[in-house]
């Protein structure tokens, strides 16, 4: 077992737990790894690319066999058609508002609850954790209609974005994940040291827990954001006025065929709705790698 000389310095210990760039330990990347990444990347990206092909071509692109993989010229026309059908920018901003709120709330509340369940001792803690994991096992379709009635009739949030944000502000998934992360990444010794120094629990949360779980928090935030972005059923039931729509519901509006689908415009809308997320990923991805280092240096 290695004895760490910086054992007793809590800050450095936390920092050490997160460094990843000790190049000496890592061998050079094998070409096989790159082959795997390219293959997986291709498979992951191809449907998205094909979505753009359909969005930019004429309707009969869908009936080609083997399928056409050449991008067409029609994309800007379809974009115009999308804007003609729905207030797209507004829907985009609605979705952004909902997703950011949900992501921030979920990360915040999950980290609090996760901290409590991982490191604090209180009566009934074990049962609480089991209850939280238990709630994950309930199929969400079960309570959909009663939930809708509560939101619309009791809270009067019909056609309001609040109905999408508030119930989603907490997540058993997030709490569970944060609990696992905090449990694994924050050593007891650190907390003991801080407690001996007289730090209050909120202070410990702020100064020790949060820096340690930043990468996890980012990923959780990203996933909460995504889950909210992809949410379809609740917004479909709740939102009535097209001005209040989120993107998934707005995409519905694009289909002007009663049976089957108006592929070109729907794919164009889908593309327009998901492309900004790629930019988000790049932003968050950078943070995932470098944010870790910032935290370590500033301590």
């Amino acid at each position: 077992m290695t004895t760490l000389s910086s054992d007793t310095d809590p800050k450095l210990l936390v920092a050490r737990n997160r460094t990843t760039n000790r190049g000496a330990t890592y061998k050079k990347m094998s070409p096989f790894s790159y082959v795997v990444l390219v293959a997986v990347g291709f498979l992951s990206f191809f449907p998205f690319y094909w979505m753009f092909v359909v969005a930019s071509s004429s309707p009969d692109v869908i009936s080609q066999s083997p399928p056409s993989v050449v991008v067409g010229h029609n994309f800007m026309n379809e974009v115009a058609a999308v804007y003609g059908q729905v207030p797209f920018t507004r829907n985009f901003l609605n979705t952004l508002l909902v997703c950011l709120s949900v992501a921030c709330a979920q990360v915040f509340f999950s980290s609090l609850a996760g901290f409590a369940l991982a490191k604090l001792n209180f009566l009934g803690k074990k049962w609480l954790l089991l209850a939280i994991v238990g709630t994950l096992m309930l199929p969400s379709q079960l309570g959909l209609v009663p939930l809708f009635k509560i939101l619309v009739n009791n809270f009067n949030w019909g056609d309001s974005l609040k109905a999408l944000i508030v119930p989603a502000m907490v997540s058993a998934f997030g709490v569970f994940w944060m609990r696992q992360a905090i449990d694994a990444q924050v050593p007891k010794e650190l907390l003991e040291a801080a407690s001996i120094d007289g730090a209050s629990i909120p202070r410990i949360y702020r100064t020790m827990i949060v820096p340690a779980i930043l990468p996890t928090a980012f990923v959780l935030g990203l996933f909460s954001f995504l889950a909210s972005w992809n949410d379809y059923l609740m917004p479909l039931f709740i939102l009535q006025n097209p001005d209040n729509f989120t993107l998934q519901v707005a995409l519905n509006q694009l289909n002007t065929k009663a049976y089957g689908m108006d592929y070109n415009i729907v794919m164009a809308g889908s593309f327009m709705a998901t492309f900004p997320l790629l930019i988000l990923f790049v932003f968050v991805g950078r943070r995932l790698v470098t944010g870790v280092m910032d935290g370590a240096v500033k301590g």
Partner: protein, 328 residues
């Protein structure tokens, strides 16, 4: 002093989650003030419970109540209390058990390869000498953001029996074409493929985030001790990921047993799960009884049946995984 959840390269039996005692006695708290700890403990977990109670629990209680009634169409609102009749019917329902078998089969095909792939991808991604890291990380998430409509179109084309791309390629390989829709096993593989495609990147990033948190010094000392890549994986990475693996297994089980959108899409929007129910899943069955057959009482009973199944399987999975991971 060693952080109690970071195992040594040579492995350490019984590395345990902090707070859970080995000998039955409550763990010694790191905090000196127990009352404060308790107060903050409740306070920090209260937002979750308040919001979840209102928007999660109450609907569930209502559904449980409904499962004990004969409520059919919710527009009727004249339910009669029938006790456990729905559950008795469920127990003897061959279609429910077929859906259960299908669900497990699909779960197996979609979870096992996926976890292995996700782990492998994360190992590749964690190497700091990887070039174009941002590109790979972004691309891996693309399947998760591709809209459901687009997935329906793309995979509908891919798995077409006569003109789908996959069968087209298989013909070149001499395998001839497969009836993805009608053949039971093929339909499970097709649906599992859709699920894996959508989630493998997502899961690999979860692994990556957790891997990045493993103390690098452990890898250093392992390689100093002469461990090669595989041994490092087995003795440093996997134990260090123990919590994450437990988490993933539980989430994978829960999610897998509730798979519903993919069979619905695969069947062209039909809720029957195939002409002989060959790719019917339990959650799709619930959906069918709620939305197409208008029998809310029975649908709620199915939902509760699913919950019990998930509970049992998750518990089993958890115990198995914990045992395996701690033996390392």
């Amino acid at each position: 002093m060693t952080p109690d959840s970071a195992p040594s390269p040579k492995g350490r039996r019984g590395a345990r989650v902090s707070g859970s005692p080995r000998n039955g006695k409550p763990a010694k708290s790191w905090n000196s003030n127990k009352a404060r700890e308790t107060a903050w403990g409740y306070l920090f977990t209260s937002p979750f419970f308040i919001i979840f109670f209102i928007f999660g629990v109450i609907p569930i209680i209502y559904s449980v109540y409904i499962s004990l009634t004969s409520l059919e169409n919710p527009l009727d609102a004249n339910e009669v209390f029938v006790g456990l009749k729905n559950f008795k019917n469920l127990w003897h329902d061959p279609e429910f058990w077929r859906a259960t078998r299908n669900t497990f089969s699909i779960w197996f095909f979609s979870t096992v390869p996926q976890m292995v792939m996700a782990l492998g991808l994360a190992s590749i991604l964690r190497n700091p000498r990887l070039r174009f890291r941002l590109v790979w990380q972004t691309i891996l998430l693309v399947p998760n953001i591709t809209s459901g409509l687009a997935i329906a179109v793309v995979f509908g084309q891919l798995f077409g029996r006569d003109y789908g791309l996959i069968n087209y390629c298989l013909q070149f390989l001499g395998i001839g074409h497969i009836d993805w829709l009608e053949n039971t096993l093929a339909s499970h593989v097709a649906i599992a493929t859709m699920i894996t495609w959508r989630w493998v990147g997502y899961n690999s990033l979860i692994f990556l985030a957790s891997m990045n948190a493993i103390d690098n010094a452990l890898y250093e000392s392992a390689s100093l001790d002469g461990a090669n890549r595989w041994q490092q994986l087995r003795h440093v990475t996997i134990p260090g990921l123990r919590n994450t693996i437990v988490f993933m297994v539980i989430m994978g089980t829960i999610g897998g047993l509730q798979v519903f959108a993919e069979p619905l899409t695969f069947g062209g929007g039909q809720t029957t799960g195939g002409s002989s129910g060959q790719f019917n899943t339990v959650t799709l069955y619930l959906y069918r009884y709620a939305k197409d057959l208008f029998n809310y009482g029975y649908a709620s009973a199915i939902g509760i049946g699913i919950t019990f199944m998930v509970l049992v399987i998750t518990a089993i999975n958890f115990l198995i995984t914990r045992r395996i991971a701690s033996e390392d």
